[in-house]
Subunit: 330 residues, 3 copies
Amino acid sequence: MTSFTPPIHGNNRHLPFGDQQDSAFYGRDILSVSQFDREQLTYIFDVAHEMYEMVARVGSFDLLKGKILANLFYEPSTRTSSSFTSAMERLGGSVIPINNVSYSSVTKGESLPDTVRTLEAYADVIVLRHPEVGSSALAAKYARKPVINAGDGVGEHPTQALLDLFTIREELKRVDGLTVTMMGDLRYGRTVHSLARLLTLYDVRLNYVSPDVLAMPREIMTEIEESGIPQASFTSLEPVLAETDVLYVTRVQKERLEDPNIHESLKGAYGVTTETLLRAKDKMIVMHPLPRVWEIEMAVDDDPRAAYFRQMEYGLYIRMALLAMVLGKA
Amino acid sequence: MTSFTPPIHGNNRHLPFGDQQDSAFYGRDILSVSQFDREQLTYIFDVAHEMYEMVARVGSFDLLKGKILANLFYEPSTRTSSSFTSAMERLGGSVIPINNVSYSSVTKGESLPDTVRTLEAYADVIVLRHPEVGSSALAAKYARKPVINAGDGVGEHPTQALLDLFTIREELKRVDGLTVTMMGDLRYGRTVHSLARLLTLYDVRLNYVSPDVLAMPREIMTEIEESGIPQASFTSLEPVLAETDVLYVTRVQKERLEDPNIHESLKGAYGVTTETLLRAKDKMIVMHPLPRVWEIEMAVDDDPRAAYFRQMEYGLYIRMALLAMVLGKA
Amino acid sequence: MTSFTPPIHGNNRHLPFGDQQDSAFYGRDILSVSQFDREQLTYIFDVAHEMYEMVARVGSFDLLKGKILANLFYEPSTRTSSSFTSAMERLGGSVIPINNVSYSSVTKGESLPDTVRTLEAYADVIVLRHPEVGSSALAAKYARKPVINAGDGVGEHPTQALLDLFTIREELKRVDGLTVTMMGDLRYGRTVHSLARLLTLYDVRLNYVSPDVLAMPREIMTEIEESGIPQASFTSLEPVLAETDVLYVTRVQKERLEDPNIHESLKGAYGVTTETLLRAKDKMIVMHPLPRVWEIEMAVDDDPRAAYFRQMEYGLYIRMALLAMVLGKA
């Protein structure tokens, strides 16, 4: 038997949970929001805030110089892909962009584990976007390098949930005590499911505003209920607008509606306008995972409470923090 | 209302025209050739010439280290995309390549302003190629970061026009006093329109050589006439070949011809061969925006007057200069 | 005639064979395995081994800082493209990724020589993957910058052959005296053809194991025979398994079989299982160019003799070595 030890893994081995170099996150995968407790979230957000301050001061810096990210996207997502690329580049690292993977090895029948084991020969960390639920966990099982889930179908998109929560913390300086109202497609909207779950770690109040056909799923509501967090459902924003600190709006996709004819009727009822903001708190924020279509009219963009473009920028800091952490540099 | 100020914009804000840090170009958009006067062109070309000398001496250097370019191409253009990527990399900066944008957010219905406002959270400057006229101006209206137009349909492609003019200046050491002959498809050829407009700032003589169906449009000729620049149209190169200092050849696209049968007949009349060069000046240059098909035969490539591949390289220096200038580093 | 000399070529000109700066490889193209003698292979492998040690020690380093690689892929190959990208980035260089070239200039009818002459205005070295045999030689003929063939159809893929041989040398500490058994599709498998040719420079014994319809082509066997290397063909692995030091398995592509019905029957006869390894030497290795489908069952991956994922990593070091060498930095 040969005694070969793959060399570049030697100084960056994939450690089991609990074993650590610089931090509890060194060498770990980021697969699901459920892997974090409140203390860990605070740590991530503190690091992300440091990233924000460093970028404000110097733009970029060489924390991850010489490190390589394999940005493996089995389905296109300009926003998420660009955000991870920027995060790595602002930290002085390099990126292997792999956007057309569906036309490549995969068409020759290669399995995801084999693709990942190949890429880890070239990169120090793998970001994976894949249409199938559980794909990131599968990749992480086989990879010795850290895997960051950038969305696995209707499953998880943990960095999105983290950036959503970080946005609230940065914009309103706290999470405890807030009233968070989620509006739009709460049935298929992956982001609101993950955010609701993460918020059970805090002392918040949740409102759901949607038509009945797009209501928050029963199993999510059961989870929230078990956590003791108060929640309530509405078919109109009006009753809860005045008390809302965070209005999280999601996109209503016409193709998700069984009866597409109701799509038009939703625009009036579940869209945010400058008129809406007249009756909202002065210090509330409007969030949206983007892309938006009609859910928030462009005139709202000029209102300081429109936080959705800043939300994109917070995503950069969250991803910078996670990359630095799993590579042992935070 | 929150008082959040997006941090990475703080040290790179998008300044209005006239307001400046290092130069009049800091924070500005590059949208159209019409935005430059002759003095500004001279400045751009001087910076581009410095870039040429620096590249000759050291290959690359860290003028834009830590800066990130979002290279946003809604339609493919290997040449232009690669040129901007190289320009950023030779200056030590990084690139977010976004080539498959048409398959991505856009298909979810996102507007260009939203895409641009998202990308500016990740990048310091945006290069945009888009099939619709006016798209770059629209993007620039919403972006706080500088936008460089890399072609908006049949509209403008200002960096192409600048590199064309820079090629003439570098190769022939002057622009004033030259006779520039444009040949081929002058009707649909965006590059000759922009170059002709730019040349009105100089003391030149313009000749147009094309079949009638591909003649220079009336509105361009009116513009040139109003500038006082002498111009003349021909259906054959012969009468003006001997006096020509710059022979700018464009591609004739078969699909643009109403009667595709005439395409073959054009090859003899409007193609450049080694025979053509026998009757041309010793110190003239042949230019072409590339890709070429039959307009210039490959045997011409070996003639020192064949400037079209060097033209590609001049494009690199122009783009390096513009990137450095709008980022306040020139 | 103008006396312009393209500046960035001045300090990196494309030297003819034999003319050298730092080494015999400076400025040269890498087109075919047949261009190397045994001494040159030893030199390449020594440099690749240095790369392996440097990566193990520091991950990345700035040997090629400021240099730019144009990674020009006319057909997708995630593995090869990622490997070259990583190689350039681990050496501190930059990459222009050109993956969608088939949708771009080429569709406008541009020839490969023109594309290459354009790209060399932006890059210091060109890696080319192209579906047509001889395309790399054609590109190299016109390019003044070094061209590295990353696969030209059923022609050559020299860096694959070099990494295969390097894998054997690194894993078994020698090549002379080994028995190399090639199994699977030996008829269409480009990698086994190139490896067999390269191995004629060493003192080895070759076994071919395949069904008759996928046997090693007559012309390759003639070449091997003329070199004096002993070779033998089998339709089953059993007779040669015990003596084998290197078992090189290739993918059997169903679409290559005239009678696809026999595909299923091949799985039992030409697949490697943990059972197979029970009867193999303790110090042998199993190789595969990947992607694999059924030829090696996943349970084999856990055996230390499974070298195919390490093989991917050795490819990184070979490509780092070649890039450094042709750019005069090895």
